[in-house]
């Protein structure tokens, strides 16, 4: 099987053309902030493929390196449970990655469209086992996946399962230090392991195992744990609130009554969600867990999961509206990764200092920071004191992390200075506006440090504002349907019109000045030639 697959790969690599004209785009099936996924027909091989089209002009130099790594990763992998790329090439300023088309889409989209309260344990065990085999292969190869979640587990019409999206996967062997640790923060917050969120110590393969455990809960409950927590009061959240909030409360009640999960399942998840990464099993060991014994085959999934499921294209259309919410979430995380099918769960991000896995209820109990100390300290144990104060939301992790890095840089500069930086760090204790007060109330703070961090905050707020404006414009297009205020929406659309015209004007101006410049060049040429 594996051997065939490899041969397959060799021949396919030769056959898929590196030319956009050989692909006929059929339909958009997924979208994120800098990439779009299409279903397409490759006309030379007459096969249906998925094409991920990434806007390179919107990516920074660092992203660029990641994209390069992703392309390389995908073309060198060869495992039945890992999605590979047939080929990749550039089309103007976009990168096209041509991949096999997984016709049943992502598990997340399957859940969202047909199994909002989770899927049966029989199906889960098959899906997780296949996923785990892919993960074991990646780890063997020295790769971390770093973004394991139902949205990145894809299924084909024959029930085969593949792990996808290496947008953030890191190659351990390439990092400069020999020890297998990474310090960057990537991934999607709900699935992140505590040591990733508190990424002081770096993290390793075991962080993927954590995310795998969260994914197991996601499949069983229909959504990742904690996603039912209250929204923060930020503007961005208000926009999405109207769309989804009530749905979540209802779902939550249903899920709590779900006690059907077997003890094997709970035990397996409990192992993955151990606070101490060293105590979590490896993918290899986890595969031997009793939960994966007597697993049924992939055809079981076809019968039990895929029957009557709407097509990928239809699901994408149905979630088109929710997509706006979902995109906003992606934007806030500044997450370049795209899900194959972005479902309709709007994600709220809040600061959590640790997680306690409650084996009985098979849910994660969040642990919130008690004060500055639990957050600052590297020890997760301190985070174990429960303090479920729902007001402690932070509306975007991005801000928090941005702050953290700024502060830690400054700490280096101010070595020896006894400034109580932690007070600046805790600004994420309560939403944007309050941060200023917190800092202001602290008299012993070095002015430069405060100004520096405030500047950083301002930058990230500007950033957020930009994104909110973008979201507003996205929502605005469909606002007429949902919001009753006709007057408001008219005003909005006028504002948009003005904005559009302004942009056009700017473009024209730019064009004009570039033409003038060209003219000047030509003049220069003429004069210099005539001089001779």
């Amino acid at each position: 099987m594996a051997h065939n697959d490899e041969q397959d790969r060799e021949t396919k690599r030769l056959h898929y053309p590196l030319d956009p004209n050989s692909y006929q785009i059929l339909q958009e099936i997924g979208r994120g902030c800098s990439a779009i996924v299409y279903k397409a027909l490759c006309t030379t091989t007459s096969t249906v493929v998925a094409i991920k089209s990434i806007d390179l002009d919107r990516s920074t130099t660092d992203d660029f390196d990641n994209i390069r790594r992703e392309a390389k990763t995908m073309s060198l992998l060869s495992h039945p449970n890992v999605l590979k790329a047939h080929c990749s090439f550039t089309v103007a300023s976009r990168l096209w990655v041509v991949m096999p088309f997984m016709s049943a889409g992502s598990l997340q989209s399957i859940i969202t469209s047909s199994f909002p309260n989770g899927i049966s344990e029989n199906c889960i065990s098959i899906i997780l086992k296949e996923t785990l085999m892919g993960l074991r292969y990646l780890h063997d190869q020295g790769h971390l996946h770093r973004d394991i979640k139902a949205g990145n587990i894809l299924m084909d019409s024959n029930g085969s399962i593949k792990l996808a999206d290496f947008g953030v996967s890191a190659f351990v062997y390439e990092s400069s230090s020999r020890c297998l640790m990474l310090k960057e923060i990537t991934g999607t917050p709900y699935w992140m392991a505590p040591e990733v969120i508190h990424s002081h110590n770096g993290y390793s393969y075991k962080a993927d195992i954590w995310s795998f455990g969260i994914t197991a809960l996601e499949l069983a409950h229909g959504r990742p744990p904690l996603s039912h927590l209250p929204f923060s009061e930020s503007l961005a959240m208000k926009i999405t609130k109207g769309i989804r909030f009530s749905h979540y409360q209802k779902e939550e009640e249903k899920v709590l009554k779900n006690t059907k999960l077997s003890k094997y399942f709970k035990d397996m998840v409990g192992l993955c969600l151990n606070q101490d990464p060293l105590k979590r099993p490896t993918a290899e060991k986890l595969l031997k867990h009793y939960f994966f014994k007597n697993c049924k085959g992939c055809d079981f999934l076809v019968k039990n999961l895929l029957q009557g499921l709407p097509s990928v294209e239809r699901r994408f259309k149905e979630t088109k509206f929710e997509r706006v919410g979902s995109m906003s979430k992606e934007q806030m995380e500044d997450d370049n990764d795209e899900e194959f099918l972005i479902g309709n769960d709007v994600k709220k991000i809040r600061r959590i200092s640790g997680w306690n896995f409650n084996v009985q209820a098979c849910e994660l109990d969040p642990v919130f920071p008690v004060g500055d100390t639990s957050y600052r300290s590297k020890s997760l144990d301190e985070g174990l004191h429960m303090n479920a104060n729902p007001q402690k939301d932070v509306f975007a992790k991005q801000i928090t992390f941005g702050e953290e890095s700024v502060i830690s840089e400054m700490r280096g500069e101010l070595d020896g200075n006894k400034v109580s930086l932690p007070n600046v760090v805790t600004i994420d204790g309560g939403g944007g506006e309050e941060e200023v007060d917190l800092v202001g109330g602290n008299s012993g703070v070095d002015r430069e440090v405060v100004v520096g961090s405030l500047m950083a905050l301002k930058r990230s707020l500007d950033d957020q504002k930009e994104k909110v404006v973008y979201m507003l414009s996205m929502v605005g297009a469909e606002e007429t349907i949902c919001s009753g205020g006709e007057h408001d929406s008219r005003e909005d659309s006028l504002m948009q019109m003005i904005e559009k015209l302004r942009i056009e004007l700017d473009n024209e101006k730019r064009k004009r000045s570039s033409l003038e410049m060209e003219l000047e060049f030509l003049k220069l040429h003429v004069t210099s030639n005539s001089d001779v």
Partner: protein, 339 residues
């Protein structure tokens, strides 16, 4: 049956020797019986995997430095690296990847605080020719490319590649249609031109004419967006490096170069514009601007100033603003001179 008499664990030295023997067999017996060959290849793949695990550890255990040192010493005692490189195309994908990672790792291994890989490569420098030519073969490009990039960590090896004929081919490699291969070649190209400062400075001044002629026409004026974007970024990195100041002065005195840079400033892509600015500022800031440079800047003064007026990166950047202010001052204060 074999399981009953489990052999004692092999030492790193044994593993290297067995690998070498198998590689020699594979290299010299292309036509032996099919089944026998497959056995040998399977054994070879297994050995490579074991060697890799010694060097990198696995998800349970960190590598042991003593074992790594023994392995490295035995590896370079004889011609194992040449055998690995030569036989690589005959191995299957997984074995190729393992071998590539082994070779990469060995470049950093020290034996009695010496990088013995470097000594070996200096004595076998022709191996670089095989690795660099790898970009011409889509099946081998990513493996040989990764090995090459690790080998040029050694300054003497990088100098050899810089001064070789391969350097000219990189201008084509980085524009290959396969994105993964082109991107790999671009990473190697960048490494060659930025890693070892003194060697790069020497190379650029010796090869100034052909190198920048190629760089301008093939890369900066390429129809391919990615090529232009990577090239302008790398050009900035090179010219702004203190060790290349002589080259920078020379580059920033050429009217043709200025023309190319001004074209890049007009690109619709913000990323390219910003990177182009970082090179353009060198022309403007040059205190001994040749008359024709001054002429062009004066003639385009109003357009340039207008362009810079609302020209800023997406993320606030104080250094950029300061540079921009200086460039604007320079251009605004220019007086046309007579030839």
């Amino acid at each position: 049956m074999k399981g009953l008499f489990k052999s004692k664990p092999k030492t790193p030295v044994d593993l290297v020797r067995q690998t070498r023997d198998l590689l020699i067999y594979v290299d010299h017996n292309p036509d032996s019986r099919e089944s026998k060959r497959e056995d040998k290849f399977a054994a070879l793949s297994k050995l490579l995997r074991e060697l890799k695990q010694i060097l990198y550890g696995n998800s349970e255990a960190e590598p042991v430095s003593e074992a790594c040192a023994q392995l490295t010493q035995e590896f370079f005692k004889e011609n194992t690296l040449r055998l690995v490189i030569v036989c690589l195309p005959k191995l299957n994908l997984e074995a190729r990847k393992d071998a590539t990672q082994i070779v990469a790792n060995l470049q950093r291994q020290q034996v009695q605080s010496r990088l013995i890989a470097c000594d070996y490569l200096e004595a076998n420098i022709d191996l670089m020719d095989i690795l660099a030519s790898g970009y011409e073969n889509p099946d081998m490009a990513l493996h040989y490319g990764a090995m090459l990039r690790e080998c040029i960590r050694h300054q003497s090896v990088a100098r050899y590649v810089l001064e070789s004929e391969h350097m000219k081919k990189f201008f084509d490699f980085i524009q290959l249609p396969n994105f993964d291969i082109a991107a790999d070649a671009a990473a190697t190209f960048k490494e060659l031109l930025t890693r070892h400062k003194s060697t790069v400075a020497e190379f650029l001044s010796k090869n100034y004419d052909w190198f920048f002629a190629e760089y301008n026409s093939k890369l900066l004026e390429s129809p391919n967006y990615i090529t232009r974007r990577q090239a302008i970024k790398l050009l900035g990195d090179m010219l702004l490096d203190r060790s290349n100041s002589a080259v920078m002065t020379r580059y920033a005195s050429s009217r043709d170069n200025l023309r190319i840079l001004m074209n890049l400033l007009r690109e619709s892509s913000k990323s390219i514009q910003i990177e182009a600015f970082h090179v353009f500022k060198l022309f403007a800031a040059n205190q001994n601007k040749p008359a024709d440079i001054v002429g062009i800047l004066v003639a385009n003064r109003s357009k340039l100033l207008r362009l810079f007026a609302d020209f800023k990166p997406d993320k606030e950047d104080e250094q950029f603003e300061a540079d921009k202010a200086q460039v604007v001052r320079e251009i605004a204060g220019l007086e046309p001179r007579d030839n």
